[in-house]
């Protein structure tokens, strides 16, 4: 076990117990862990986005390594701009262009997302913040167009096909596979569940009774969701405890035990001090 691994384990233990300490009450350990989490996440995401997309796929397409010497007035200016960038940020804009497999000719079409991206950043400048709307409008429009077909195909047509259940050549009852009994439940659940969301008619009389069945189906669905949510949270808790147990071993200099002990002592002092301050 090397030093960095042990240090990492101590940090992991501190952050885990810091977050858990919120279950007692809001306290400085929780706040430290929370702020570190938010800051590291933001930094990590930004770094990943830049080095996996903006640098290779945007700059790599705008300034690929040219084949042979740069010729032509416009291209000289274009790569002159690149050289200026390269002088400021040599790691991002290495000498001669960016070779990420996008050929040797610049893809000028990618200037459009580049400009839209800069416009979105301008939202921090109040005078030019209107420009951000163009970038956002493009993103929203693109996403809406992209999703329209996919939703229609998978969520409407696919689910309609899935709801067309069979009542022939299957057993009457099965706990696990398709059966006539199960399919009747699917049919009743689908129809009554959909009718519950039909608000053009008052939910009274026979119609009200049918929609009430729909509510029962919805409640069962919510109950299942709640059960799965509990299961998921317990799984995550098991994951953290498993790590804490392994970090509590001799290999990690009993990190879990020491951090837990110090945290309990400091939280006790902090609580007593807080109580005294409140009393005074």
């Amino acid at each position: 076990m090397n030093g960095s691994e042990i240090f990492g384990a101590w940090v992991a233990v501190f952050l885990t117990l810091g977050i858990f300490s919120y279950l007692y009450k809001d306290n400085p350990f929780y706040k430290i862990a929370e702020h570190i989490f938010v800051g590291v996440s933001a930094g990590y995401w930004m770094s990943m986005f830049f080095w996996t997309q903006i640098q290779p796929n945007l700059f790599g397409r705008l300034w690929p390594v040219p084949e042979g010497a740069i010729s032509g007035f416009f291209m000289r200016i274009w790569y002159g701009i690149y050289d200026i960038f390269g002088f400021v940020l040599p790691r991002v804009f290495p000498d001669g262009g960016i070779d990420k497999g996008h050929g040797s000719d610049p893809h000028f079409l990618y200037l459009l997302p580049f400009i839209l991206g800069i416009m979105m950043l301008l939202s921090v400048v109040s005078k030019w913040s209107w420009m951000a709307r163009l970038g956002i409008a493009y993103t929203v429009g693109m996403a809406a167009g992209l999703r329209a077909y996919a939703f229609l195909n998978s969520n409407v047509l696919g689910q309609l096909k899935g709801s067309a259940v069979s009542f022939v050549n299957i057993p009457w009852f099965s706990l696990t596979d398709a059966s006539i009994f199960n399919n009747i439940i699917i049919l009743i659940g689908t129809i009554t569940g959909l009718l519950y969301f039909y608000f053009s008619k008052e939910h009274t009389g026979h119609f009200g009774k049918v929609t009430r069945v729909g509510i029962y189906f919805l409640m069962i669905s919510f109950g299942a969701s709640f059960g799965f949510a509990v299961m998921g949270r317990i799984s995550l808790l098991i994951g953290r405890f498993t790590d804490l147990i392994s970090y509590g071993g001799e290999n990690y200099n009993y990190a879990s035990l020491w951090v837990l002990l110090v945290m309990i002592v400091l939280l006790t002092v902090w609580t007593i001090k807080g109580d005294k301050d409140t009393a005074s």
């Binding site: 279950l23 007692y24 990590y44 995401w45 990943m48 986005f49 996996t52 997309q53 290779p56 796929n57 790599g60 990420k100 497999g101 996008h102 693109m142 996403a143 992209l146 999703r147 996919a150 939703f151 195909n153 998978s154 969520n155 696919g158 689910q159 096909k161 899935g162 709801s163 696990t176 596979d177 699917i186 669905s221 299942a224 969701s225 799965f228 949510a229 509990v230 299961m231 998921g232 317990i234 799984s235 995550l236 808790l237 098991i238 994951g239 953290r240 405890f241 498993t242 147990i245």
Partner: protein, 281 residues
């Protein structure tokens, strides 16, 4: 009787921090002293196993990692188990990531399974293509032109220089697709933009909380099988005969569930007793 009802009402308003302590205790104890409770694979887990079993050596599987450290205990064990099964069958594995932290999860899983356990060769038996931002736009791009989205892999190698990338130009070139997903973008987007339009057989492993959302796609046959949370991972580990982290956590999971169900029943009894008393007086 009245004293007993008093106790129930008072216990019903117990400080919730005691409940946290009890849950912590019942989760920790089985981790130290395993009970060895039986694990029975469900139909949906068995479906994934059977689908992978039908793959032949040399077939191509696209595995996408869409989870991070926050959901690692649920998804990672099933990703590891699935990779074991795929490598056991000599299937070629292509790994993509729609989440930035998914790349590190994939690196860890591949190091554990491909390198240390099965001694597979990078670029020949498996490749980590890495993360690309863009959510469903990335999937859409992979469906139409794989090489427009990925020109280099996560290690910076050009795709043209990777032997196992020969003949891979779109998602339709794969024999199997698996999404290890903890949310958006993930399973639903792979169904909508890849599996449904191309017809490639798809399986998924999701967090427990996502199961209800994804299950309609499984019922309709748009997804062939689902591994739901840690139990799904444990079931898959049982099916491939290689117990792992999922199996070891199931005792704690089961005991915690029993205690939580007990709390819910007790809380309801307390609620109804209190309500009856309120009506009475």
């Amino acid at each position: 009787m009245e004293k007993f009802l008093d106790f129930i009402v008072r216990a019903g308003s117990l400080d919730r921090r005691y409940i946290f302590v009890v849950i912590a205790f019942v989760v920790i104890m089985p981790l130290f002293y395993p009970l060895g409770l039986p694990i029975r694979p469900t139909v949906s887990s068995k479906t994934i196993y059977d689908t992978v079993e039908q793959l032949e050596a040399g077939n191509k599987a696209l595995v996408s990692f869409e989870y991070g450290p926050s959901t690692k205990p649920e998804i990672h064990p099933m990703a590891v188990a699935l990779l074991r099964h795929l490598f056991e069958k000599d299937v070629k594995v292509y790994v993509t990531c729609l989440w930035p932290d998914g790349q590190f999860m994939a690196m860890e899983a591949l190091a554990q399974v491909a390198e240390n356990q099965y001694h597979k060769e990078y670029g020949v038996d498996y490749v980590l293509l890495g993360f690309r931002p863009g959510n469903e736009a990335v999937i859409k791009g992979l469906v139409s032109n794989f090489r427009k989205v990925y020109t280099v892999d996560a290690r910076g190698n050009f795709l043209d220089d990777i032997p196992m990338m020969d003949g891979i130009n779109q998602v339709g070139d794969f024999d199997y697709l698996f999404s290890a997903s903890a949310g958006y973008p993930g399973t639903v987007e792979w169904v909508q933009y890849a599996a449904d339009p191309t017809g490639v057989t798809m399986g998924t492993g999701t967090t427990s909380i996502q199961v209800n959302e994804v299950m309609p796609y499984v019922q309709s046959g748009q997804i062939k099988g689902i591994l739901g949370g840690m139990p799904g991972a444990a079931e898959y580990e049982k099916l491939i005969g290689q117990p792992g982290i999922g199996t070891s956590g199931m005792d704690a999971q089961s005991v915690a569930h029993i205690v939580i169900v007990g709390f819910i029943i007790f809380g309801n009894i307390s609620f109804f007793v209190e309500r009856r008393r309120a009506k009475k007086y």
